[in-house]
Symmetry: none
Subunit: 214 residues, 2 copies
């Protein structure tokens, strides 16, 4: 029936072209985009159409606009994608569970990757890391982020970042004493490449924080 039901949405096209433009002109985080009027002319569409695309990206937190100044490429930490979806619609239990599961999968994989890599687990970072955990107050989120960063998979990192916002959960809390000792062991396991041990310690940690909260 709807064979050629393909009246491509203009503003979606503009979004694509914007991405392309950003890539071509090598606009980096914080950089300035052309003005709405200029974009309209360059892309051969009306200004209102450009605005529809820009507003979409702004709602997502991908760009930032300042009246009188211009439009700027936003920091990736400001992406509001997940946040928005969660407040608007995605509140089903199943979905939240999915997010947790998926995020943990990424975390485990990071641990796995580091354990397998002689280059990574031999880094001098780890001892300093352990000291920091012992001596300072440290947020759960920070330690995991660090691990994923070290695992050197930027894609995973980005996805993890987005998923993290979703739960808004106990990741913001400080490591408690029990957790610290688990993490010390975990990091030691990572250093010596004992994946099995590391993963089971990680699971142990999950149990710990799930028992404490919620």
């Amino acid at each position: 029936m709807n064979s050629t039901n393909n009246p491509k949405k203009m503003f979606v096209e503009i979004v694509k072209q914007l991405r392309q433009l950003i890539a071509e002109e090598n606009i980096t985080v914080g950089g300035k985009l052309p003005s709405e009027r200029e974009l309209a002319e360059r892309l051969q569409v009306g200004r209102s159409t450009v605005r529809e695309a820009l507003r979409s990206l702004e709602l997502l937190g991908l760009i930032e606009t300042r009246r009188g100044e211009g439009t700027f490429l936003s920091d990736y930490r400001k992406h509001r994608l997940v946040e928005l979806l969660s407040t608007f619609i995605l509140t089903e239990a199943q979905s939240k569970e999915d997010v947790h599961t998926t995020r943990q999968a990424l975390e485990k994989d990071a641990i796995h990757t580091i354990c397998m890599s002689e280059r990574l687990n031999a880094l001098h970072i780890w001892d300093a890391f352990k000291e920091k955990i012992i001596e300072e107050e440290i947020i759960r989120e920070d330690i995991i982020r660090e691990i994923i960063i070290i695992s050197d998979n930027r894609l995973s990192l980005k996805i993890w970042f987005l998923l993290k916002q979703f739960a808004g959960e106990p990741y913001q809390e400080n490591l408690k004493l029990e957790e610290k000792s688990v993490w010390i062991l975990l990091l030691t396991a990572i250093q010596s490449g004992e994946e099995q041990q590391a993963i089971s310690l990680y699971n142990e940690w999950l149990l710990l924080i799930n028992r404490g909260d919620v």
Copy 2:
């Protein structure tokens, strides 16, 4: 400096009011929203402002618009989280290696999930599955997709789908004879919940296809 930098964005306000309106009027999935012109009048703003808000929601997949008909509340499952991830975030992290690693992490996690769930690995599906592998030609991609579907994590499934496209890889090929025997063992391991065994067989399979191709 920017203490009260709070010149609330109009279209963001409209987004909020729209959500409120949807709640008040009890508009359900698939239901029709008021027309743009009516919304403009009711919310006391210009039509273009209403459109900026609507377009934002549409980009997220929260609503659906059909020319000549109207604007409709979209199905939950059409949200575009992952698609947007691909267009804006994945471009930078295009290291193919990252894509592979992340995708495999999701695959392993699916196997893990199924192994741990007595409900899932007890399904009657598995035997039929094995037969199919033995008797028919089957594409690599199909078997993995099936497993992720069974693991019942929609988010993972979406992300996996996306990554799959980006890889453009050997997943389209048929299972070769050696692979088939590995998979039979793998499925058996899953059935009996032997996670260790299943994962190591999965890794074995990865070696197999990486030796053959590329």
